[in-house]
Amino acid sequence: MSVAAKMEPPLPASLAAARVQLEQRFGTRLLETTQFRGELTYTVAPVDWVDVLRFCKETPALAFDQLDSLAGDHLPERAEAPLQMVAHLLSHTHGHRLRVKTKLAEGQALPTVTGLWPSAGFDEREAWEMFGIVFEGHPDLRRLLTTDDFVGHPLRKDFPLQGTVGGRIRTDLRGKI
């Protein structure tokens, strides 16, 4: 037994039970499983994204009633699937947490989870704005943090670090003040 495995703390009892349920239900559709420092992470295919998250929310033994965070990620070194979405789930009923990831190819759309957690609306808007990940079925996919006349997806690794949009104000204030 390696040192790391010895130091690996066991999962909380409720989360271990949830793990059994998840793996019974989805089996090999859970592409990767990682356990690290008492945290559990699954990677699923984009087609299973909503199914897995709905199961996590609606099964009583899991009861992930809160979508803690839903964030995008850009990993250009992974050529076949440079984008990914990461969901952090929290259950107030059981007090346990789960992380679910899905890897996306360039231009690949992902179905929205706003039907499960309405709070996903802002998170998905931000992910679309910053990484260009399109969410099918999102009710209002507009820019959230940048101005309406902004062009590009600024948190991608290939976006220029230094501002190239001319001038000091960097937006057209006409009609806004």
Binding site: T147, F150, L161, G167, R168, R170
Partner: protein
């Protein structure tokens, strides 16, 4: 010339002075004995001229002087923390540095009640229209402190989301450099604001322009 007086001239006095041709519409000459008597020649430069009135001199200057004195002890900034500099601004408001000693602790949550703003932190491009709107909602006279490198120039954030210095949006009176500035530095900046208040000097008055408005009008070359 009699003693300098702060009372208002009565209608009859003004009429009589007008009839004598004694009510100077323009500034007093610097060599005028009335100006030398009262020692207002320095202020007269700043204020755009003293005015001779019957029974006294330089009423507007004296009045401005008193107003400035009062205003300098009750400078109420707009409660407007944009980023980490706001933490230092709060430290200045707290008990250790205690800017309430100078009547500045009353941070107003409404621009209508404020005398100026401390732009504490980087201003994002999305925030820029709000900064201009809040500035324009502050009643005249108003003073602006650009606090920290980000508000002054954008600092290291030469990026897609930060305005490169808020003086491209609004006129700035005092720049307080630092990342973030110590509370003492902001304190010194506010002391400079108080000096400007006493002299009735402010950036808007001096420049008579709001850069953001000029940018919209297409006259600004900077933005």
């Amino acid at each position: 010339m009699s003693e300098p007086s702060l009372r208002s001239a009565t209608d009859a006095e003004v009429r009589a002075a007008l009839a004598r041709g004694d009510l100077g519409p323009g500034p007093l000459e610097p060599g005028d004995p009335a100006v030398q008597e009262t020692g207002l020649d320095q202020d007269a430069e700043v204020m755009g001229g003293a005015v001779r009135l019957p029974g006294g001199v330089a009423m507007p200057v004296q009045l401005e002087r008193i107003l400035g004195f009062g205003r300098s002890f009750s400078f109420w900034p707009l409660l407007f923390g944009l980023a980490c500099c706001a933490i230092e601004m709060m430290a200045l408001g707290g008990s250790r540095f205690d800017m309430s000693r100078f009547g500045m602790e009353a941070m107003r949550a409404s621009p209508r009640q404020a005398d100026g703003m401390i732009v504490a932190g980087w201003c994002s491009i999305k925030m820029a229209p709000r900064v201009v709107r809040l500035y324009e909602q502050i009643p005249d006279p108003k003073w602006v402190v650009a606090m920290g490198s980000c508000a002054i120039s954008g600092n290291i954030w030469d990026t897609y989301h930060v305005v490169q210095g808020i003086d491209s949006l609004i006129p700035v009176d005092v720049y307080v450099p630092g990342c973030p500035p110590r509370p003492e530095a902001l304190w010194q900046g506010l002391e400079m604001i108080r000096d400007r208040i006493k002299g009735s000097r402010h950036a808007y008055d001096g420049l008579r322009r709001i850069p953001a408005r000029e940018a919209i009008a297409g006259e600004g070359t900077e933005s």
